[in-house]
């Protein structure tokens, strides 16, 4: 995040969220995404009613760090489960059960597995939501009547004003060159 980044404001004083452009087909939006990626934009997104195969590469998206969050949680769950059981049945309150040793590893396995899976599941879900900035009640794009069609039959690219390369006029004219229709300024933050 560059400190000296400009903050764009509309004539009415509203902050600018970004510039949106519509495209007719998945192929059009796919090719436009490749060009936006090559132009060096980083804070932008493609909106479509269904997953477009290969759009991640076309957008130049990096792999998510979510697996690392999941792995850390899995490790914590496994270690935590082993420590908890060893301390409870081996140290704090040893009881003879069926003549077995106080803290054998065998009965620890199911609980270790379950706690590992539980922690991983929670961390993956919460991590996914956090990385996506969810949940949120409102989004500037939802103010646009035309934008709602991206859940039906429209394809759109929105380049956000938070992008270091964002410039209201140049970004708009680039989207025009790429064949974008109904190009519009999105207000809000």
């Amino acid at each position: 995040m560059a400190k000296n980044r400009k903050v764009y404001v509309t004539e009415s004083g509203e902050p600018v969220y970004g510039v949106i452009a519509e495209f007719a087909t998945p192929a059009d939006v796919y090719h436009a995404a490749e060009k936006v990626r090559d132009a060096g934009y980083t804070k932008w997104d493609v909106y479509a009613p269904f997953p477009i195969h290969g759009i991640d590469e076309a957008m130049g998206q990096k792999r998510t760090v979510l697996p690392l969050i999941s792995a850390a949680a899995a490790g914590a769950g496994v270690l935590g489960a082993i420590l908890m059981q060893w301390w409870m049945s081996g140290v704090d309150y040893p009881i003879v059960v069926q003549g077995k040793p106080y803290a054998p590893w065998e009965p620890f396995v199911p609980i270790t597995f379950e706690l590992g899976v539980l922690f991983t599941a929670f961390a993956t879900l919460i991590g996914m939501l956090a990385l996506n900035g969810l949940p949120r009640h409102h989004h500037p794009l939802l103010k646009k009547e035309r934008f709602l069609a991206v859940s039906d039959d429209a394809f759109a690219i929105c380049i956000e004003s938070g992008d270091d390369k964002f410039d209201p006029d140049q970004t708009r004219s680039m989207l025009e060159r790429l064949g974008g229709k109904h190009i519009d300024l999105v207000e809000g933050d």
Binding site: G54, D56, P67, Q98, P107
Partner: protein, 432 residues
């Protein structure tokens, strides 16, 4: 890439199979061995002959007949498991109408075709034991146990006549399934008739049921019955889990080797290896789950007929093999295969696959070989006494398997070249 978004539906239309027959990737130089691999098959044959000869020879040295029989049998059962795993994957791919794996399916079919042959090899020791050595390895065949109460209760199942009939049934069932699936696939190579795919799918429906039952019972007969006192209801699944584990590794090894030999270029890509790696990973976890469940319930309930098996395998030096399996059959492959880049790399999968084959035979070693050291009078023997016999037997049987598989792969195209789902396999991609 860009064409993909628009033409992704092509793979599902089905009727395009014949359009692909002149596809550059399906040129003979890419999908046929054309006589190459001869050097490798000779190497395998040499290894096989030397290994088997050393094992047979060991019967007449200090190692003794029992040790040689156990070593041969553990190696043969390991090799049989690999072939049965190939049959399982062929059946699954047909049943699920899998598109991605079409370019790997011929390898599975060829592995499956060797299952009846491997069964014959794995029947040598038990039949010899029944007729000649009278229950040296398979204790229920030993006349001195005739009055044993437990054996008396099991004699309805464990008797020579029924045993031989069962071996015959397994042979017939596995021949029927593997020959039918392979010949349907090869007939399609010639005719391009897409309806043969439906026939293969129908065969797989009853074939899977027959496969499951025969594999489970074969594992009772050929492995579990060695110690007739022991029984485990998980045994069939345990053997099957090892079979799927080792054959997923073998498929990856064969496909990687073919890639290195300049074949299957563009037909088997990182995308296919990614999914194959997922199968290797999932059957690592599945084997561990089954092996642990079997051990855990026996450990907990503490019933002598069941614990006797694990007691023999957790004492007198066998603990090290027990913990090696925990580490090598679960923890190590799990921690390595969990990484996406490993699964997507054919070369990394060669290393992982070799390790998985090694540990698969350690598993068989753990099942079979304590039969030698638990005998009265064998107290001084550790798992590693005369280990060379086991190494020779495993290398020998791997040589036999490798020789037969290399030769078989040369007899037909390396992929089902006119399968209606081939376009789907060519376009296959993991979008994560």
């Amino acid at each position: 890439m860009s064409a993909h978004a628009v033409h992704a539906h092509d793979g599902h239309s089905g009727g395009h199979a014949s359009d692909l027959s002149h596809h550059p990737l399906l040129a003979d130089s890419n999908v046929r061995l054309n006589g190459s691999g001869g050097g490798l098959s000779m190497l395998f044959l040499l290894m096989g002959v030397a290994g088997v000869a050393a094992t047979v020879g060991a019967a007449f040295t200090g190692a003794g007949k029992l040790h040689a029989m156990a070593s041969f049998q553990l190696a043969a059962m390991g090799a049989l498991a690999i072939c049965l795993g190939g049959m399982f994957f062929t059946l699954v791919m047909h049943l699920t109408a899998a598109g991605w794996s079409v370019t790997l399916r011929r390898i599975m079919e060829q592995m499956a075709a060797l299952a009846p042959v491997m069964l014959i090899i794995a029947a040598i020791v038990p039949v010899t034991d029944l007729l000649v050595t009278k229950g040296l390895l398979y204790t229920w065949m030993n006349p001195s146990y005739e009055t044993n109460y437990l054996l008396g209760k099991k004699a309805g199942f464990l008797n020579p006549g029924f045993f031989l009939i069962r071996l015959g049934v397994y042979f017939l069932a596995w021949t029927l399934i593997s020959v039918r699936l392979k010949s349907l696939s090869i007939a399609q190579d010639r005719s391009g008739d897409k309806w043969l795919t439906n026939k293969a799918r129908f065969t797989s429906a009853w074939g899977m049921l027959v496969f499951a039952l025969t594999t489970a019972f074969a594992s009772f007969d050929l492995l579990m019955s060695m110690d007739f006192r022991f029984f485990s209801t998980m045994w069939g699944v345990y053997f099957f889990a090892g079979a799927a584990f080792s054959s997923a590794a073998t498929i990856a090894l064969v496909a990687s080797s073919l890639l290195r030999a300049g074949r299957l270029q563009g037909l088997v890509t990182s995308e296919h290896f990614h999914d194959l790696g997922k199968l290797m990973f999932s059957f690592t976890v599945f084997w561990s789950y089954i092996a642990f469940s079997q051990y855990f319930l026996i450990w907990y309930s503490n019933i002598p007929e069941e614990t006797i098996w694990f007691t023999a395998r957790k004492s007198n030096g066998w603990e090290s093999v027990f913990y090696l399996l925990c580490f090598g059959h679960f923890i190590a492959p799990f921690l390595v295969l969990v990484f996406r880049d490993v699964k997507r790399s054919p070369n990394a999968l060669i290393l992982v696959g070799l390790w998985m084959l090694f540990i698969h035979f350690v598993d068989m070693f753990f099942i079979v070989r304590p039969m030698v050291t638990t005998r009265p009078g064998a107290e001084a023997l550790t798992p590693f006494t005369n280990i060379w016999v086991d190494v020779a037997a495993v290398l020998g049987l791997l040589g036999v398997l490798g020789f037969a598989l290399t030769r078989l792969l040369g007899t037909a195209a390396l992929v089902p070249i006119r399968d209606p789902r081939l376009p789907e396999a060519l376009e296959h991609k993991n979008y994560v």
